[in-house]
Symmetry: C2
Subunit: 267 residues, 2 copies
Amino acid sequence: MNRDAIGVFDSGMGGLTAVKALGEILPHENIIYFGDTARIPYGTRSRQTIQRYTQEDIAFLRRHPVKMIIAACGTVSSMLGADSPVDDMPFTGVVYPAAHAACAATKNGRVGIIGTPATVASGSYETAIHTIDPSVDVTAMACPLFVHLVEYGYTDPDDPITRLAAEEYLTPIREADVDTLILGCTHYPIIAPVIGQIMGEGVKLISASEEAAKYAKKCLEEQDLLTDSTERGHNVYYVSDSVSMFRDNARHFLADAVNGQVFSSRI
Amino acid sequence: MNRDAIGVFDSGMGGLTAVKALGEILPHENIIYFGDTARIPYGTRSRQTIQRYTQEDIAFLRRHPVKMIIAACGTVSSMLGADSPVDDMPFTGVVYPAAHAACAATKNGRVGIIGTPATVASGSYETAIHTIDPSVDVTAMACPLFVHLVEYGYTDPDDPITRLAAEEYLTPIREADVDTLILGCTHYPIIAPVIGQIMGEGVKLISASEEAAKYAKKCLEEQDLLTDSTERGHNVYYVSDSVSMFRDNARHFLADAVNGQVFSSRI
């Protein structure tokens, strides 16, 4: 048993979809979130720059009492692959949990993946899926505009720009006849309705954020690190850009106002 | 007379449109460029963060032999307003040169401005225009997706996503019956064809990049700081993210391959 917090980080706000999922399945846990809003996006930067930012984000979280770290960012998780950047506490990215869920969900053996350019170029989800089941056929597509469409609030299912971008990005995935699609970036659950409409009812959407939260629960259970508190957990948020911008935008991701204190911290 | 370089900086690649204009009107000058590609975009960040990044960018350029600094970034120029962040050499942003050009160009006294959210929220172009001519009627519109559409290469005049975004952003400007439109972000000249098509032939487009280059020439002439070299000037480029990504994308902005050495430098 351990009352320390779960540390969660992301390039910006996308990781809040994982915070929301954690709040639902582990309501008594405390969460410390770091969003690198002064340097978002990560997904269009080089491997070296993403690795440097990742190290800095993890170092920031480790200055707080955390018992597990979640990289709630598809891009960071993809750069890390199967490696854990910490050796003294549990860690997960979003890639392996989502890959496991996709392999369990597909019936026709065809899985689609959408993510940032860095995520797709890394081949991380394919590698993870083929480690689990080499027979699964994978079709991946980079969606560079999605992060920005979500961050700027173009999230209405009827928004014509988001719909047009989604149709362009998803056509090759639809043509590959997948029955399962991994939302490989933690921003994407926010536009899951439009993605779902374009893919059709027969396609199961796997949220990398939700799967990471479920995997975190399993990890903490196995290592006897769940809190013994029966109170609602406390969330504390840190961002590298301004607090007010974070508060304004966070409600899109949490589907609610921010439930905790928010601080701005240079990194 | 002075053979030191002109220092130019931007959040990323947009400032290359100013480098291109400088190369045309001051072909013998050397240029040192800094593009903060590891932290682009600036235009959706808070005022404090943009100010901090600006100070760091200027400090970087000042470590090199420069005789003038150009903030070839609409967002940075807007945060600075009429202030110069250096007191020992000429400096210009893109706002005042573009405002002067727009006031000279308009016949019906109605000017449109498009820029990043930070630029438009600052009211910088309106302030500059009304300092020059208080009677000019100004309509401004933030275009948050444009930077990303340009950076990701959605620059074909027939690209349906760029066209749809441009139609959405430009409708209020068109309805205001402007005869002059300032492209208030140095990325926008790259999609000037689609902007021009939507605005119609009667509307003059003012490129903030080109006007800054013209103003730089005037400044250097007045202060007797032009080079006496008759050779083609040398350009050196520094970026905060990877060199290869810069080389791949720079040709969209320069309409040519990069004509100089490129280095990656952490900031």
